[in-house]
């Protein structure tokens, strides 16, 4: 599994959110914080910011397919248009 810097647990597909302050790791079942750094077992979950069709705008906002409002941290696992970006 790849190591990725500058990402946190909410970017991981093993992150189970309990509330806005904390979550659990689906692998270790340990309590973790959303801003904890990626560990060596972490794997990215599909999010807009990882999508090739997403363009970043001002802070925490962007565009989907250059036309539609989107935001970087939205989970896009169920989005039919999602495709992994080659840039990250």
């Amino acid at each position: 599994m790849s190591k990725i810097v500058n990402m946190n647990c909410t970017d991981c597909k093993y992150y189970l959110p309990v509330d806005v302050f904390k979550g659990m790791c689906k692998l270790s079942k340990q309590d973790i914080l959303p801003d904890d750094a990626f560990c060596d077992k972490a794997e990215r979950i599909a999010k807009c910011k990882f999508c090739g069709k997403y363009t970043a705008g001002k802070e925490f906002l962007g565009k989907c397919m250059a036309t539609t409002l989107a935001y970087p941290d939205m989970i896009a696992a169920k989005c039919a248009d999602f495709e992994w970006s080659s840039q990250n």
Partner: protein
């Protein structure tokens, strides 16, 4: 009037020497206990997934037929929700991707969660929509996110939102400006003659909130029949047949309705299957065999119910939970009651037990899991609504008892286990209401007593006879007869709601199961502050707190009690008139912009008629009401004026006006920071008003079987219940009286000056509708019952009586028998509802001082049970101050 920890009872009753806890309780299963501990540590959390996708799809479909557009938007929301499943869950699925998840619904209303300096927020404040917010206290503990911390933003004093989602929330909200139900309704409500008076009424908090865009659904009973009987694919098939029958024929709205239901159900199917996929993912990760098997079992179960009817009790329980959440996700809703679940699920349970595939222990575990899931429900709403009305609760009421279709007792063994798990796994939700009937077996009633004694405040005890009389009066013109009246249940905390018997066919045998058959039974004029209206009468139409004129000057000298009473009737009627019209417009905007689809699909006879709930698709549609608040405070105030001004002429009205403005020589509640009368402190003017205040306090008080004041109470009730029928709902049906305070007696008290009964400025009103004002019922419970039943309760959708009893009084088997006789006596006198806090008030004082030690303490407020630490201080003070009965 200052209190001390030694003598907290209002009239000096000495409490027992030691603080007494409630009688020993059962413990939850390990699974439920683990889940509840997780809940205790979780904060209310909002997210933007659903509103983002809803709005995105809505914008893509500009020009589409509105109900189709709505269905597509709901579908987009459901199918994009990220599934979250917590370890050990036997029932899965939730509103959003947090344990206590919820989300804004800007298509209903968007102003309240904008920043305070935002123009949208300021406009809402100006029109009086948010005034109640500013006088509401929200609980500082438990799961409430009361202030912004780090990367979490606090909204409405309760919900946390990650900072990463804040910009998109504001962007999405702004897209709904001039398009939301709130904004469109507001545009047209201004066309009602006298609209400016409505705004003044809202700013003065004579009325608490508009229902059309805040909580447009709820206070009703779910009906789970169609998915249980047909499964989702079966319902889709019904809709396809409906489309074939109506396409191209007149009343074309039926075509769009069927198509919209199909679209919505496709979204639900995807949502359920996404959860199944997540369960499979977790099963693959899991090393521990038992948990792995449970995830696999859950995945298979969810896959099955995404298409087909349930095969067993566990399937059926998962299915009703899934549809419950689905309805909650289509609107901001409080009071969506599961109804008589123990009777709905009994055929599945009995069959599984007979087959030996289910046992008592497994049933208890599942029912405890159900309690945890219902407790996780949050409703994203403004501070005035979520704090000032709901106290953070959402009033999912599960009813037990009552009668079957054939008039025999409906109590069953599964309901005994529901009571058992209400004791073993104390949680606020679902709250329980026992539909008391003389035909119910003693064993069942005593189990109810055992549960009430455990102290979580449920079950509430509700008269089956009184409810059916109300229902037959209210729905007779729509065809209700006695047999169907028996299918009723409580919707929300205490709203009598009509039901129907549905023919569940299981293995070729028909089981008549009850389910709700009306839309929200409590929308309309919500709530009217009776003491505040009396205040405007005394001050010739003015709100003296703000200096704003509310009603036109009556110009009367108020020289007789009758003149005073007529002036009150006049102002009250003006308020009901304008609020009825403006609310009708708001609800019309709701049904056009945001029609119900999930709930419409479930309620008979929407599928048969091809109409949604907003188009009167339901079987019964006489569902708008006028809600009151502060009944007893009003009548006590009237009694004081009648005695002191008109009968005995101890003081003139001018003297009362001055005393009220000077708060009888006391500091205000806002100044003292305490909201009950017993904690207020005199100021330097005290001696000037000592006599009038003492005589006001000593004037006859409701709750003591005193005809002087009880006759005024009856006069008020007879007039109020009758006058509401003069107003017509959006569905052109007569309205009716609804009398529950929920939590509104706190913020409404906070904006009301001192009242002529001696209550001081800013303090909380009397709770419920036939509760005595705290500490003023001094002649025992039977005298209170006589006062409470001085009028016919079946004239109203409800009445509400809250009592507090010291645990020592009902201890042991003898205490249980005595307790049941007490309740029976009230029911036999014609009382509709009574509920109890079995608690030592000093424990509540301790909990207020040291909340961290009392995270799991539950108390009964007014129709609902809530964690002590999640209640605002206003309500905490009021519950502490209630009269505590130390003997029966």
């Amino acid at each position: 009037m200052e209190s001390s920890s030694e003598s907290i009872n209002y009239y000096g009753n000495k409490p027992a020497q030691q603080v007494e806890d409630r009688e020993k309780k059962l413990k939850p299963t390990e699974r439920a206990n683990t889940a509840r501990e997780l809940y205790f540590g979780a904060k209310s959390s909002a997210s933007m997934e659903f509103p983002y996708w809803y709005t995105r799809r809505w914008d893509e479909l500009d020009g589409e037929i509105p109900i189709i557009r709505r269905a597509e938007s709901l579908k987009a929301g459901f199918e994009h929700l990220t599934p979250v499943i917590y370890p050990g869950e036997l029932l899965a699925m939730g509103k959003a991707s947090f344990l206590r998840g919820s989300y804004p619904m800007p298509w209903l209303s968007e102003a309240f969660f904008m920043a305070a300096e935002d123009r949208l927020y300021q406009e809402a404040l100006e029109s009086g929509k948010l005034t109640a917010d500013t006088f509401t206290t929200v609980g500082k503990g438990g799961g409430n996110v009361t202030k912004s911390i780090g990367k979490v933003i606090s909204i409405a004093g309760k919900f946390g939102l990650r900072v990463e989602e804040m910009p998109v929330m504001l962007e999405v909200a702004k897209r709904w400006k001039d398009r939301s139900v709130d904004d469109v309704g507001h545009k047209y409500e201004q066309m009602v003659p006298g609209y400016k008076e409505k705004e003044a009424i809202m700013r003065s908090v004579i009325c608490m909130f508009d229902s059309g865009y805040t909580l447009p659904q709820g206070r009703e009973v779910m009906n789970y029949y169609y998915p249980l009987q047909y499964g989702i694919d079966g319902v889709i098939h019904i809709c396809e047949e409906g489309m074939n029958e109506v396409a191209g024929y007149p009343e074309m709205d039926r075509l769009y309705f069927y198509k919209a239901v199909i679209t919505m159900l496709q979204g639900l199917k995807a949502w359920i299957r996404n959860y199944a996929e997540e369960a499979r993912f977790l099963a693959n990760l899991e090393k521990e065999e038992k948990q792995k098997a449970e995830y696999s079992d859950l995945a298979e179960r969810l896959d099955h119910i995404s298409a087909s009817p349930p095969r067993d009790f566990h399937d059926a329980l998962q299915m009703i939970w899934t549809f419950h959440v689905a309805v909650l996700n289509e609107d901001a809703i409080s009071g969506l009651s599961p109804g008589r679940v123990g009777q709905v699920l009994y055929p599945y349970w009995k069959r599984d037990m007979d087959r030996g595939i289910l046992n008592r222990e497994k049933t208890i575990e599942l029912l405890e899991c159900m309690r945890i899931k219902f407790t996780e429900i949050d409703c994203f709403a403004s501070m005035g609504v979520v704090g000032g009305v709901l106290s953070g609760n959402t009033f999912n009421n599960l009813c037990i008892g009552g009668l079957k279709k054939d008039g025999t007792s409906a109590a069953n063994e599964l309901e005994m286990l529901i009571l058992e798990t209400g004791i073993s796994c104390e949680t606020p939700q679902p709250t329980l209401s026992l539909l008391y009937d003389e035909k119910l077996p003693e064993e069942f009633l005593l189990k109810g007593i055992e549960c009430t004694k455990a102290g979580a405040g449920y079950p509430a005890w509700v008269s089956n006879t009184v409810a059916m009389e109300f229902l037959l009066n209210n729905y007779g013109h729509e065809g209700m007869q006695m047999e169907e009246a028996r299918a009723w249940a409580i919707g929300g905390c205490l709203e009598t709601s009509p039901g129907s018997w549905m023919p569940l066919n299981l293995d070729g045998e028909i089981h008549w199961i009850p389910g709700g058959s009306a839309p929200a039974t409590s929308v309309g004029v919500h709530f009217l502050s009776l003491p505040k209206i009396l205040e405007t009468v005394i001050f010739d139409g003015m709100d003296m707190r703000t200096g704003e004129r509310i009603f036109p000057a009556h110009g009367l000298k108020l020289e007789s009690y009758d003149e005073l009473w007529q002036a009150f009737q006049n102002y009250f009627s003006r308020a009901v008139h304008v609020l009825t019209l403006t609310n009708n417009i708001q609800h019309d905007a709701w049904r056009k912009i945001s029609p119900s689809l999930v709930n419409s699909m479930l309620k008979p006879d929407c599928l048969e008629k091809g109409r949604d709930l907003g188009q009167m698709g339901a079987r019964f549609n006489t569902t708008f009401n006028v809600e009151s608040c502060g009944n007893t405070t009003l009548v006590n105030a009237l009694a004081s004026l009648k005695k002191n001004v008109y009968d005995e002429k101890n003081f003139d009205l001018a003297t009362y006006r001055k005393a009220i403005l000077d708060n009888f020589g006391y500091h205000t509640a806002q100044e003292t920071g305490s909201w009950s009368l017993i904690d207020q402190k005199p100021n330097e003017q005290y001696s000037e008003y000592q006599r009038i205040h003492r005589m006001s306090l000593d004037a006859p008080k409701f709750g003591n079987d005193d005809p002087y004041v009880d006759s005024l109470f009856k006069q008020w009730e007879d007039w109020f219940c009758e006058m509401t029928h003069n107003y017509r709902s959006l569905y052109d049906q007569p309205m009716y009286a609804c009398q529950i305070s929920v939590s509104t007696h706190a913020p409404m008290g906070a904006v009301t000056l001192a009242s002529p009964d001696g209550r001081l400025s800013g303090t909380t009103f009397s709770d419920g509708s036939v509760s005595a004002y705290p500490g003023t019922d001094r002649h025992g419970p039977y005298a209170l019952f006589s006062s409470a039943t001085c009028w016919n309760h079946s004239q109203s959708q409800n009445s509400q009586l809250n009592m507090k009893i010291h645990p020592s009084v009902v201890r042991g088997r003898e205490g249980s028998r005595k307790f049941l006789e007490l309740i029976r006596a009230y029911m036999r006198k014609g009382g509709f509802h009574v509920q109890f806090n079995i608690v030592d008030s000093r424990m509540l004082k301790q909990a207020q001082a040291d909340p961290d030690k009392f995270r799991s303490l539950l108390v009964r407020v007014a129709g609902f049970t809530q964690y002590w630490v999640e209640l605002g201080k206003q309500i905490q003070d009021e519950v502490i101050a209630r009269t505590e009965y130390e003997e029966l």
